[in-house]
Structures are given as C-alpha cells and as structure tokens.
C-alpha cells in the first residue's frame, strides 16, 4: 500500500472518533508533560550551571582548601599570574560565625551568619547588588560590612550600625541583595554577612582549627581558552600530595558535585514521571482495544476488498502512532508550561541559574517516549488484527484466525523490553531500568490479579438479598468488557506511587523531628579553643544547661593503614569522589576514657592493650577504610606521624544527637597535639538565644549551632522536595483517573442504553447515579486499598532498608488514601457518565 493511500485511509478512519482522540490526548499528555518538565528541569539546571560556570565560580579557576593554603601553592599562583599578563587573583573566605550587636546594659543581640570575606577584584564575573548601590571596595573599606536584609531585620541594623564580628567592631555600610556566586541550593545556616578579606584578618577569627573554606580565585586573561584553565589546574595538582586536601576547580568543571547531585535527583524524578506515562500507555491500550473492537466488521470488509493482514495492522498502527504524536505534542506544550513556573515554585531547592521554559531536547524526549508508549502499548490489540477473519463479512460468529503462541510471547517481550528501554532513557542506568521495569510489572500483575479476583468474587457473590442499587452496581463491575481490569490497575498504580512517595517523605521529616531523648543536646559550641571552655561552661550552667558534654578535637590526616599509604589506598578506589575522599580528607580525632551511652563495642575491647597506642573505630567507617581489628593506622598529626592499633570497633547511635566520632583515640596519646574543643548541652527553651548572645559577647570566635533551627531548615527543604515529588505523583493519579474516565466513556453507548432501559423500567435519575456510584466506588476501593498497601510496602523498604531509619505507622495516610481513591473514582466516573445519564429513553430506543 502506498504511503499516500495509507495516510488517506487513516484520515478517513479517524472520522467520527472525537471521543477516542480526546481520550488519547488525555492519557498521553499527562505523562508526556511530566517527562518533559523533569527533563527540561534537569537539562536546564545542567546547562545553566555550565553556562553560568564562571559567574558561579566568580572566576575561571579556584584553588580551594579547608586549611591555610600552603605557601608553595600561593607561589605557584603568583608565578602563573606573572606569566599571564591580564590575569588576576582574589581571595575568598567563607565561614559560619556568630555576630553580635551591643545593646544597653552590656547586653548583646547575636545571630549566626554565613560570613563571606572577599579580596579586591571579587567577583571577577557577575554582579553584586547592594543597597546603597556603591562600589564594593568603598563599602567594605575600613571594617565596613554588608548584611543580608534578613540579618538587618533580625538585629535591627541600619547603615552605620555597629556590628561585632569575632569581637571586632565593624560598621554596617548597607545591605547585600544578591551575589553572583551564591548557588542558592540547600540550607543556609544563617543570613549573609559580607566583609573584606582584610576585615576578616582583623577580627581574629582565623585561628587554629577555625572551619574556614578558603579559596584563591583566578581570572584568566580575556583571550585565554579552556585549555589554559585546565593546564593551570593540572600544573597545581601535579605539585600537590594526594592527601593535601586542596582542590582545584575550573569553570570548565562547572560545579561537578552539584550537577551530579541534580542528575541523580532528576534521574529518580524521571522514573516517577515515567510511571504516569506507563499508566497513559495502559489507557491507550484500552482505547485501541475498544476502538478496534468497534471496527471488526470494517476490518473484515477491508480484508475482503483485498487489504493484506499486515497492511491492516500498518494502517491502524499508523493511526495510533499519529494520535500518539498528537497527544505527545499536547503533553509537551503542557510540560513546557509547567517548566515556566517550576523554578518559581521550587526556588528553595533549585540553583540560582536561569532555567529556560523551552527545551528542545526535553520536548523531543517527550515526543519520542510518548509516541513510543502509544505504539508499544497498542502492539497487543493491533497484532490481533491479523486474526480478524474476513469470513466475518458473511458470518459474524466466524472463528478468529489461529494465533501463534510465539507471536503472543513476542508481543509480551516487546512490551517488557519497551518499558525497560524507556526506563533506561529516563534514568540512564540499566540497573535502575531493570528495577523499574520489574517493579512496574510486579505491581501491575498484582493489581490485575486483584481486579480479576474482585470480578470473580462479585460474580459469585450472593447479590439477591442486596438492594437494587447495590446489586446492579456490583453486577456492572463483573460484566465482561466492563474495563474493570485496566481501571483498577491504572488507578492502583497511581495511588501506589503517590502514597509511597508521601510516606517516604513524611518518614524522613518525622525522623528529623522525632522526639529526641530527653537528655539530647539542643545546642552545640564549635570552633572553641581549649582555654575558652571554662568560661563557656560557666555561661551554659548559668542558663540552666543540662547534659553538658565537651570533647577535644585534633585534626589529622590518615597516612597509612597496615603499611599502605593513604594515597595508594585512594588510588586503588579508582572512582573520584567519596570513595577516595575518605582517605584524603582531614580526620577528626578525639579521646575519652569511657564511651558515651550511644556507643556500643561490637568487636575487641576498649583500651585493652597497654603496649600500643589504641584507636577505636565506628564499624561502618572501618569497613569503608578497609581497617579491621589489629590494623595499624598511622596518622599525620600536624606534621607528627603517630601509629595506632585498632583494638575495638563500635556501633554508634547517631540519632541521639550527641557528640560522636568515627575515630576515638586512647587518652594520653594526643594530649600534646594542637587541639580545639566542641561542646554540647541541653538548655531550656527560651535560653538558647541568651546563651548565644553571651557567647557572642564573651567568646566571639565560638560558633553556637542551635539544633532546632537547623532541623527546621532541613525539614522545610525536605517538604519542598516532597512537594516536587508529590506533584509528579499527582500526574500518575491524573493518568489513572483519565483511564477510568476513558473506560467509562468507551462504554458510553452501552451505559446510555442501560440508563434508557432503567428509566423505562421506573428507575429515577438518582437511582441510576447510585448504581453507577456503587460500580465506581468498588473500583476505587480495590485500587485504593491495593495501591495503598503497595505504597506502604515500597515506603517501608525505602525507609528501613534504603535509609536505615525506623518505620513509623501513619494511620491517617493509610486510611485516607483508599477513601480518597474511592471519592476520586466516583467523581470521575459520574462526570464521564454525564452524557449517558442525560439520555432519554425514547432517544436510545428509537436509535435501536
């Protein structure tokens, strides 16, 4: 058959099929919209981070360290600058600290801030917005600081106000409204305070052990290429020891950690979006099945007139593909509209880069997956077209042509492969794709089984004694061709996804906010020098603090384990990132005679070998390091190598919120090492601010971290993330509802006849609505119950096995979800039955 003839026949075939077309659009567009929105967001973030790389880095290259940058590296930078006229450098230091405003009577008001100290020239790219809008150098000169509007409000600061930073008096010169290199993602521990690098040096906050993120930013000459940046990066890295803790980043890298993080997140979200599309596919399969069932006579005539079986299949497959494309186009438009508003809705969890609403690659992906889904899920009904006997033109009860078992198996395998392929496209991971496809198939099979069982049960139930409304409603569910199976499967899958996501998110948030033990600390003091502890303790006790605990911290670098250097151990790991970082990062060591209550020895014995320096390691950390009982670990403690033997392994109850360490050393080994202190305490509610104010006034370098505030910020972030997930889960529900409505619509003529007959026999409209409601309520109930149970099992697995958190029952969600499904099902079903309900008996009976 010529392509032009095929298109002509397709166009003719689609006449009088408005309902079919609408349903196609509804089924597919929801899922495609979700796919396009997620893909657009992911791609937009990635491209945005790359495009804004220089601005976000505020330079072309950044040399970064948590410790003072070695002179050798500083010299290397200077040499490079000298060799590349037009290049410049600036320092950038960031840290968390407490600032204070003197009040009357010797009181202070304090606040935790994220301090940023910048050298001349910052930012090399992008704009800083300040109020008043004056040159930055001018605003920050002579101990000038700029504060975020939040901070100004909190401490009642105006231009000219005094603000003590590290006990050093500074002057507020205005507000900082925006910074080009602020990523805007995650949690801010406090509002921004901007000062000059020289100003920070004057505060005395740069002491031993201060947690400062130090950077040297470099701007390359204007004509420099990416290669110049990369060459410089390699030159610096070549001179660094693997465990130096110094990282070099270029704008070419473009925030690799953040991009990887978002890629992982959107990979997961992409699979959630795919669920909606798969549900849409189920709806498409049902539409095609119903449509082809209504075309059997016509198909027999076409075969009689000389259309070959494969031409018949091609004709209807082509029509399906075209409709799929149309539905996908609508979905792509919808997804683009969502992408236009998503960045505003999710501002807290997305980086501050422009994300364009229109993404050609996302739209293309949506069109491909949408059209592919339509064709894939239609394969089974389409392939049965080959079996329509042309003899049907003479005898309606003619037996279908024989189906090949191999062909049936092939169709099933193609469907599974298609779902797997789509999942691979969305997730980029064959492992995830396998899990997704397997999970979907298992869930669909269980739901289909439940639908079948429901139908059988209702068929056999003794309905004789039931009221007529109930009786007829139940009978409708069991009727052949009622569409029970796809409706329950689709709606059930939607409920499963939404309930599962909701339970996981609630579980995470609850775990954060969970009732902590009474003695759990609600306040931590960090960056404290040893000599400052007595005064800090006195302040705590004066405010009624309980459960006060303090431990020393010595920072060290791991040199070797059992004779293998940390550098070699890191190299053996092969992958960049966490696997190697565990060997190269700075380790925090402490010592104590007795372990706190939330530590349990699981192997060996604490401080049991007087002949050696002993160390106790948390068991999971030991596994990550590859250390075991008896291992010899050498630490470089501020230049002094100290060997220790692992004599015990511990299990730590991290959720106690106490001060805990991966590495605990035997007392006496590190007494003389340079150290600082950390302390934890539980202060009465209402006294936290008083403690912070007094610490800020008397110990300005000590940072006070208030647990409740941090938990609330994390919980808020989780809520926003949960919102994004629930929106996507909502697409799945919408797809399920669309399928239910479509199944109802497909049986509209039958329902119309039914309504006509019932009305003729004396049923009122309310009675008919009642009958339909019983039918839809049962569908919704079965789907809701199975979906809720499935979602609960999924959430339980994720929380207890994936995140290793305790499981909490949520009766409200578990109870309300099936009820919600029933309500949605009834509302959607009745809405879809409106035209049938309006039919008058005479219209239908005359048409017969």
């Amino acid at each position: 058959m010529r392509p032009s003839l095929a298109l002509t026949l397709m166009a003719r075939e689609s006449r009088g099929s408005a309902a079919k077309v609408l349903f196609f659009l509804a089924c597919l567009s929801v899922g495609v919209a979700a796919v396009v929105a997620v893909a657009g967001l992911s791609g937009g973030i990635d491209r945005g981070l790359r495009r804004e790389a220089r601005t976000l880095l505020a330079g072309d290259v950044a040399v970064r360290s948590a410790k003072p940058i070695p002179q050798a590296v500083v010299a290397q930078v200077s040499t490079f600058l000298a060799a590349h006229p037009g290049s410049r450098s600036a320092e950038l230091y960031e840290m968390v600290t407490v600032v204070a405003v003197p009040r009357e009577g010797g009181q202070v008001a304090s606040a935790l801030v994220e301090l940023k100290a910048v050298g001349p020239g910052w930012p090399f790219y992008g704009e800083v917005k300040t109020e008043p809008p004056r040159p930055l150098d001018e605003l920050l000169a002579e101990n000038g600081v700029l504060v975020a509007p939040d901070l100004a409000r909190k401490l009642d600061l105006t231009e000219g106000s005094r603000l003590d930073v590290g006990g050093h008096a500074c002057t507020v010169r205005g507000q900082i409204l925006s910074e080009p290199d602020k990523l805007g993602v995650g949690i801010d521990l406090g509002p921004r305070l901007l000062m000059s690098r020289a100003g920070l040096a004057a505060t005395g906050l740069e002491t031993f052990g201060s947690r400062i993120d130090r950077k040297i930013l470099i701007k390359l000459p204007d004509d420099a290429t990416a290669k110049t940046a990369e060459d410089f990066e390699k030159a610096i890295e070549a001179e660094l020891k693997p465990d130096s803790g110094i990282r070099v980043e270029t704008y070419v890298d473009a925030q690799p950690g953040l991009r990887a993080g978002f890629r992982n997140a959107t990979r997961f979200l992409g699979l959630v979006a795919l669920v909606s599309l798969v549900l849409g596919g189920i709806g498409v399969a049902e539409t095609v099945r119903a449509w082809l069932a209504s075309r059997l006579d016509a198909i027999a005539v076409l075969k009689c007139l000389g259309l070959r079986p494969r031409e018949v299949v091609a004709l209807y497959a082509g029509e399906t593909a075209l409709l799929g494309l149309l539905g996908s186009l609508v979905g792509a438009a919808l997804g683009t509209a969502i992408l236009a508003i998503a960045p505003k809705l999710l501002a807290d969890i997305l980086p501050a880069v422009p994300i364009p609403a229109f993404s050609a690659s996302a739209i293309l992906r949506g069109l491909l997956l949408g059209t592919g889904t339509a064709v894939l899920f239609s394969i089974a009904p389409l392939s049965s077209l080959r079996l329509v006997p042309p003899l049907r033109v003479l005898r309606r009860d003619a037996e279908p042509l024989e189906a090949s078992k191999v062909a049936r198996l092939a169709v099933a395998l193609v469907l599974i492969a298609g779902v797997f392929g789509a999942a691979w496209i969305q997730s980029g991971s064959p492992k995830l794709a396998t899990g997704f496809a397997g999970g979907m198939i298992a869930a669909a099979a269980i739901l289909a089984g439940a639908a079948w069982a429901t139908t059988r049960l209702v068929e056999r139930a003794a309905r004789g004694r039931l009221r007529v409304t109930l009786r007829h409603g139940l009978a409708a569910v069991a009727r052949p061709g009622a569409g029970t199976l796809p409706a329950i499967t689709a709606l059930g899958l939607g409920v499963l996804v939404v309930v599962g996501m909701l339970l996981v998110q609630r579980g995470l948030t609850a775990s954060l906010k969970a009732d902590r033990p009474d003695e759990a600390p609600n306040l931590f003091l960090v960056d404290m020098q040893t000599g400052q502890w007595p005064k800090a303790e006195a302040i705590l006790r004066s405010q009624g603090a309980q459960s006060i605990r303090t431990v020393p911290i010595v920072t060290a670098r791991l040199a070797s384990i059992d004779g293998v250097t940390a550098a070699d151990l890191a190299a053996r790991r092969g992958d960049r990132g966490r696997g190697r970082w565990i060997f190269t990062r700075e380790q925090n060591l402490t010592w104590m005679k007795e372990l706190p209550k939330d530590n349990e020895i699981v192997a060996g014995a604490l401080w049991s070998d007087p002949k050696t320096n002993e160390i106790s390691i948390e068991q999971d950390f030991a596994q990550d390091l590859g250390a075991k009982l008896g291992s010899k670990m050498v630490f470089d403690v501020q230049g002094v190598p100290i060997e220790m033997t692992v004599t015990s392994l511990r299990k730590v109850g991290w959720r106690s919120f106490g001060i805990n360490f991966f590495l605990v050393v035997e007392p006496g080994v590190l007494d003389d090492a340079p150290q600082r202190r950390v302390a934890a305490a539980r202060v009465p509610t209402g006294s936290e601010q008083v403690v912070q104010d007094r610490i800020a006034a008397e110990l300005p370098n000590v940072v006070v971290l208030r647990v409740r505030e941090i938990i609330e910020k994390v919980a808020k972030l989780l809520d926003r993330i949960g919102l994004a997930i629930r929106i996507l889960g909502g697409f799945a529900i919408a797809a399920g509802i669309a399928i239910l409505a479509g199944a109802v619509g497909a049986s509209a003529s039958r329902r119309g006849r039914e309504v006509a007959l019932l009305k003729t026999l004396g049923a009122t409209r309310a009675g008919v609505v009642g009958t339909f409601s019983v039918e839809f309520a049962l569908l919704g109930l079965v789907a809701g119950v199975i979906g809720t149970v499935g979602g609960g099992i999924l959430a339980w697995a994720v929380i207890t096995k994936g995140m290793e958190l305790p499981w909490t029952w949520r009766p409200a969600i578990l109870l309300l979800s099936p009820i919600g499904a029933v309500i949605l099902s009834v509302l959607a079903g009745i809405a879809a039955s409106t035209s049938a309900l309006r039919k008058r008996p005479i219209e239908v009976l005359r048409a017969e």
Binding site: R2, R12, A298, K303, L305, G306, V393
Partner: protein
C-alpha cells in the same frame, strides 16, 4: 483443441465445523464448474451451506478437504496475504447487509478497491460507476444518509470498480423490499453484462434465481439438482 479452464472449479469440496463434540458437515463433496461469464444462482433452504460455498470460492474460508480452483489455480492453500491479493484483483463482493464502511462517503466506498488495486484514474471510474447506478449526486453522502436500496447500489458500484472477473453476491436483495430489490437486480445485471463478469449469486428467492443462466439447488450441503435456463433438468 484446448479448452479454457473453468473460471471457478470446486472439486470434492467438503467443509465441516465443530458443533459441541460433533463435527457438522456444512458442505459434502461438492463438485462444481462455472465457466467464465456465467451467471449461476445458488439456492437452498436456510442452513444448506450456500453462504459457506460462497465463502470458500472467495478464499474467505478454507475447506476441510477438496479443492477450490480459480482459472485453474488452486487457492485453498494460499496464505492470507495471497488470498487478500487474489480478492483485490479478481473478486468483487455484494453482501446482504451492504457492508459499506460507515466513515467513508459513497464515493470513497466505491473508490476504495480502485485505490487498493492502484488503478489509474480511480476517481473518474468511481464517478462513472456512481452515475451508472444512478447516484451521481449522492457521492458525498455517508451510508447512514442513504436508503437501503441506495446503499446496495453503492455496494454494486464498489464491487464492479476493478472490473473483477468474478463477482460473488450473498442475498443482495435480502434486506430490500421487492421494488427496490428489482432495481438493484437490474443494475447488477447491467453491470455484469457490461463487464462480462462471472456472477455467483446466493439467494433463497426463486424469482431472483430465475434470472441466472444456471441454478444450483443445495440441500444439506450437497447439490440436489441443477437447472439451466436453456438446458434439461439434471436430477
């Protein structure tokens, strides 16, 4: 002197169908030969196997045993594809229930076989046929907008579109009143003569059968007797 193969030849044709645990014999060892251009009517009571005979001739069904030959070539073992092509090129159909495609206009219904066969100037041929059957002005109407007689005339136009060597008609006037049926039959006859088509027509109406060159009477799946318009009765 060689004689041309019959247009349609049935040799020992048998068709059985399962009915519960039994096998029902619908046709039992039918031997029949129809020459090119002949008009043969097949009569018989309900359940005598008339429609099954027609279906086997058209390759719509497969015999349990025996052969169906069209122009000397056996068709019973052809693939579904080959049978579809055979029907496209060689066989036209007229059905009792018209079997027009409801989403196509009258003209498009007539066009369809011409388009499938890739015939040139299909549009002109369709218009000419519609004119022949007296429906030139109704080509843009859908079947639901036509009367039964008009629909059957459209079906006739469709059946003759490709000038098929064979036309099979299954009770073409079965759903029509007498007067309309006569119009349809006259049109059928006119088109048959113009095209020289071999026509096999199934009917239960003796008046309709009288128009044929030959009448085959089927009883319980067997040929009971045969009559020719100008030949002796064959017991």
């Amino acid at each position: 002197m060689t004689t041309a193969a019959p247009r349609i030849e049935l040799i020992g044709l048998t068709r059985r169908l399962p009915s519960g645990e039994r096998l029902l014999t619908i046709l039992d060892r039918i031997d029949l030969s129809i020459a090119a251009g002949e008009f043969v009517a097949v009569l018989g009571p309900s359940g005598s196997g008339k429609s099954t005979l027609l279906a086997l001739m058209a390759g719509l069904d497969r015999p349990t045993s025996g052969e169906v030959r069209l122009d000397g070539s056996a068709i019973q073992d052809l693939s579904e594809d080959a049978l579809a092509l055979l029907r496209r090129d060689k066989i036209g159909f007229v059905f009792q229930s018209f079997q027009l495609l409801g989403n196509l206009t009258a003209r498009e219904n007539v066009l369809l076989p011409l388009e499938l066969a890739g015939r040139p100037e299909a549009g002109a041929r369709a218009d000419a046929l519609l004119s022949t059957v007296g429906l030139a002005e109704r080509g843009h109407h859908y079947p639901s907008q036509l009367s039964g007689g008009e629909q059957q005339r459209v079906a006739l136009a469709r059946a003759f579109g490709t000038r098929p060597p064979i036309l099979l008609a299954d009770e073409p006037t079965g759903n029509l009143d007498r007067a309309t049926g006569k119009i349809v039959l006259d049109t059928l006859e006119q088109l048959r003569i113009e095209s020289g088509t071999t026509l096999v027509l199934v009917t239960h109406d003796p008046d309709v059968a009288r128009l044929a060159d030959r009448r085959i009477h089927l009883v319980d799946g067997r040929i009971d007797r045969e009559e020719r318009t100008v030949a002796e009765n064959v017991p």
